[in-house]
Symmetry: C2
């Protein structure tokens, strides 16, 4: 970290998270750090909802504290901002409700819907990045 | 996971990782899952080298098993491929040697150079994704 870095408010962080559709869930699988890219949406109350078909890996994330990260990287590999939400992952009903939430690896099967309640929200960005798509 | 997903060989996975400049290191910090976006390069022997100034967070990753992930996401939020390397993170000398390896948050300070030896390499991609930039 250094002086150039600007901390984003919780509200601004969740706004940026909601402005993109892909992030990465971070959890522990077989005692090792694990990460999977997934699609997400952000509910009005700030809950992060993801859907996945990766049952082997993601089932081990349920009912544990996970991190969820999304960022904005420009074509020249410049990281404009990064938002990290930390909270407990819960399986939720509602696969049908979130059917439009595509699983990147899937063919329209319902899959698992996981909700992450954002207990901690951290966001950082370069001052010149206004949060709009590059 | 489903039938559409193609597993990438270790060689192909490392080639794709080397084709991009940004990824995310996943580690444990204060008993919670943590993730930070950083810049990387891949050495000829497959070692992943990252540089960072985030001493508080990243020092807790040293000498532990970490995951490192990079992926390709198109403008319409389609995930083309994802590569995940798992291995022990070691601090390395050579900040000068890797000075060109930009820290996204930094102003040219030397920072920490961390090496990850790829004990496990996993890569997955959609069959129609050929690994070229979107």
């Amino acid at each position: 970290m250094n002086g150039r870095l600007r901390e984003l408010s919780r509200e601004e962080s969740l706004r940026r998270l909601a402005s993109v559709g892909v992030g990465r869930i971070v959890f522990t699988h077989q005692a090792l750090p694990a990460i999977r890219p997934v699609h997400h949406l952000v509910e009005d109350d700030g809950e992060v909802v993801i859907r996945s078909h990766d049952r082997t890996a993601l089932l081990s994330a349920l009912d544990t504290v996970v991190a969820y990260e999304a960022d904005s990287v420009s074509g020249d590999d410049r990281i404009g901002w990064s938002v990290i939400v930390t909270g407990v992952a819960r399986r939720a009903d509602g696969a049908d409700r979130y059917r439009h939430l595509a699983d990147p690896w899937a063919d329209g099967e319902p899959g698992y819907v996981i909700r992450i309640r954002p207990e901690l929200v951290a966001g950082f960005g370069l001052p010149e990045d206004n949060g709009h798509a590059p």
